[in-house]
């Protein structure tokens, strides 16, 4: 488990489990699967790398409502090996596996506007661990991306006979990712920043009338991060060239089933 997740879990679980259910408090735990797709492109727009696969995971969330305001926090963690289809640095096609971990912690608030609408904003810290495995003829890379984001948007809730249905949409604004790269010992590790980015997040959920403690949720995330500038790399302390993170797109479809209390 990542340090972010451990810290959040340590804070959230006692709160969620020890406090009695209260009209102003909400909480939930969900199990989910995330179809993550990461693609990278060279400066000519040609795709260099495509990673894709399903990652199982868990989400914890809690919220406190006071009048028209609701304050909320959430932790999510997804991890699994996904398929890598890319190339060597020299341009030869290569296939492998990427051990991927996606973690995020989110704190924010919502304001009920009326007629089922609410405005929402949240601060989010995202961590993406990407370990591209070597494939026998080529060594892999060990990458970690950290970024801070602002997620702002709207939500709408309906109350049909079937249950409670919600839909939400938000724009995601990201500070430059802080990227740390290891080169399997062939070069010295390096850290550098990418560029600001923006994306979208849309979601929908259903809490069936017959089982209001259940929540079925789907969410789609999309973000494009521009190519970074060049960062110097070294080998045993000696200059060995430069490295850059190509333009990359992060897409994910998350499906989850949760228990609400």
């Amino acid at each position: 488990m990542t340090p972010i997740f451990r810290a959040g879990l340590a804070a959230a679980l006692p709160l969620l489990l020890a406090l009695p259910a209260h009209a102003q408090w909400q909480g939930g735990i969900a199990l989910g699967a995330r179809d993550a797709r990461h693609t990278e492109y060279d400066q000519g727009g040609r795709r260099l790398v495509r990673e894709q696969g399903w990652l199982p995971g868990v989400t914890l969330d809690a919220g406190y409502r006071s009048g028209d305001f609701t304050w909320f926090g959430a932790l999510e963690w997804y991890r699994h090996d996904i398929d890598y289809r890319g190339q060597t640095q020299g341009g030869s096609a290569a296939g492998s596996t990427t051990s991927t971990g996606l973690a995020a912690v989110r704190l924010g608030g919502a304001y009920a506007i009326g007629a089922g609408y609410s405005a929402q904003a949240a601060f989010e810290v995202d961590r993406w661990k990407r370990d591209i495995q070597g494939n026998g003829s080529s060594a892999g890379l060990q990458e970690t991306y950290r970024s801070r984001r602002l997620v702002a948007g709207m939500a709408k809730t309906w109350q049909p006979a079937a249950g409670t249905v919600s839909a939400d949409a938000a724009v995601v604004l990201s500070e430059p990712e802080r990227l740390h790269v290891g080169f399997s010992g062939l070069l010295d590790p390096v850290s550098f920043d990418t560029h600001r980015a923006h994306g979208w997040r849309i979601g929908a959920s259903l809490r069936p009338a017959l089982a209001p403690y259940l929540e079925l949720r789907a969410r789609y995330d999309w973000m494009t991060v521009p190519r970074s500038g060049d960062a110097d790399i070294t080998r045993n302390g000696q200059f060995a060239g430069t490295v850059a993170q190509p333009e990359h797109k992060r897409q994910a479809l998350t499906l989850s089933v949760g228990y609400r209390f």
Partner: protein
């Protein structure tokens, strides 16, 4: 392990070629007496106007010298025997071809790393090169390999390279990078590729743009043949920041070979236009009439080429490896109007 570079020297050699008209009087061309009038026939089309420059007795040697430079690199022993060792390109005393081929080798060097981040490699003596390649084999050059190399202050062979070169490989047989017997064709496109160096205190920059196809057959360590063709190649040469020459080579072809220390070059055929400080705007065509032959390290000892201008021409003949003869024809009809005999060194300095 013997490395070979393919001959882009001709392309770089094309840097040297240029010569052209400009006015200039003098010479021994005869001028006519009274000009009578002849009734024109209605509906007779006007004769075509030549776009070539006029060669005069005053500039004939310079014209020939510039034209010879276009084939000089093929005659240069180092350029064919071991194309990695360099080609003397005046005023830049570094080979464009071996420098460029070193860049090609970078794509196949070093331990193989998968792509997540993308790496720009260091050049031998400083700077970096970004290689965007599609290779079938990471350790061996093959048919269909395509690479685009963007150099940023890349120092190779004592010269600093900036700009972009795209190369597509075809007709590849054998191991181009590691053996002495192979064939390959390189379709190359230069985009503002600049080669900078300092010679005798003079800062030289040669910029190249355009296309070039190099077909090379390396038979063994001491024998090869090369054919270089292209539709358009533009070169600009600067010295200490001042533009000295600009040249555009059009529809060009050159052939050459090396056999056991003897270099033969010929079959050069090209159109050249541009501007030099000494000649101004110029335009002419050139072709070999006899192959130039030289022993590696020496000037050509035989061979001839003709340069055609507007109703004028000049022929260069290698008398031996010490001297040349330049024959000027004021009317371009093969009748020699004036001849000049000079040393190779003096002739080459007349660019």
């Amino acid at each position: 392990m013997k490395t070979r570079t393919l001959l882009l020297t001709v392309g770089s050699a094309l840097i040297l070629s240029a010569c052209g008209g400009g006015g200039g009087g003098g010479g021994t061309s005869s001028s006519g007496g009274a000009v009578g009038t002849t009734p024109s026939t209605p509906n007779t089309p006007a004769p075509p106007v030549s776009t070539l420059s006029t060669i005069t007795a005053a500039n004939a040697v310079a014209v020939a010298s510039n034209a010879f430079a276009a084939t000089a690199s093929i005659s240069d022993s180092s350029s064919l025997t071991d194309v990695l060792t360099g080609v003397s390109i005046q005023p830049v005393n570094n080979g464009l071809v071996p420098t460029v081929f070193k860049l090609v080798r970078h794509a196949y060097e070093g331990p193989s790393l998968l792509t997540g981040v993308v790496q720009n490699k260091t050049c031998t003596s400083g700077g970096t090169i970004a290689i965007d390649a599609t290779l079938k084999n990471p350790s061996m050059l093959g048919n269909g390999d395509v690479m685009t190399m963007t150099a940023t202050n890349c120092v190779e062979n004592g010269a600093t390279l900036n700009g972009t070169l795209k190369v597509t490989f075809s007709n590849v047989t054998g191991d181009v990078l590691n053996s002495s017997t192979w064939t390959a064709t390189l379709d190359s496109v230069f985009t503002d590729l600049a080669l900078a160096s300092t010679t005798n205190g003079v800062a030289n920059v040669v910029s190249v743009g355009g296309d070039m196809k190099i077909a090379m057959n390396q038979e063994n360590a001491a024998r090869n043949t090369v054919t270089i063709t292209g539709s358009s190649l533009q070169t600009t040469a600067k010295q200490n920041g001042t533009t000295v020459t600009t040249r555009t080579l059009s529809n060009y072809s050159l052939k050459g070979s090396t056999r056991d220390g003897v270099v033969t070059s010929g079959s050069a055929n090209f159109a050249l236009a541009g501007n030099t400080a000494s000649l101004g705007q110029f335009s002419f065509t050139s072709q070999n009439t006899a192959d130039f032959v030289n022993v590696i390290g020496k000037n050509a000892n035989t061979g001839a080429m003709i340069v055609n201008g507007n109703a004028s021409s000049v022929t260069l003949t290698a008398l031996n490896d010490s001297s040349v003869r330049v024959d000027f024809s004021a009317k371009g009809d093969g009748v020699v109007t004036q001849s000049f005999t000079l040393s190779w060194a003096e002739f080459l300095s007349k660019i």
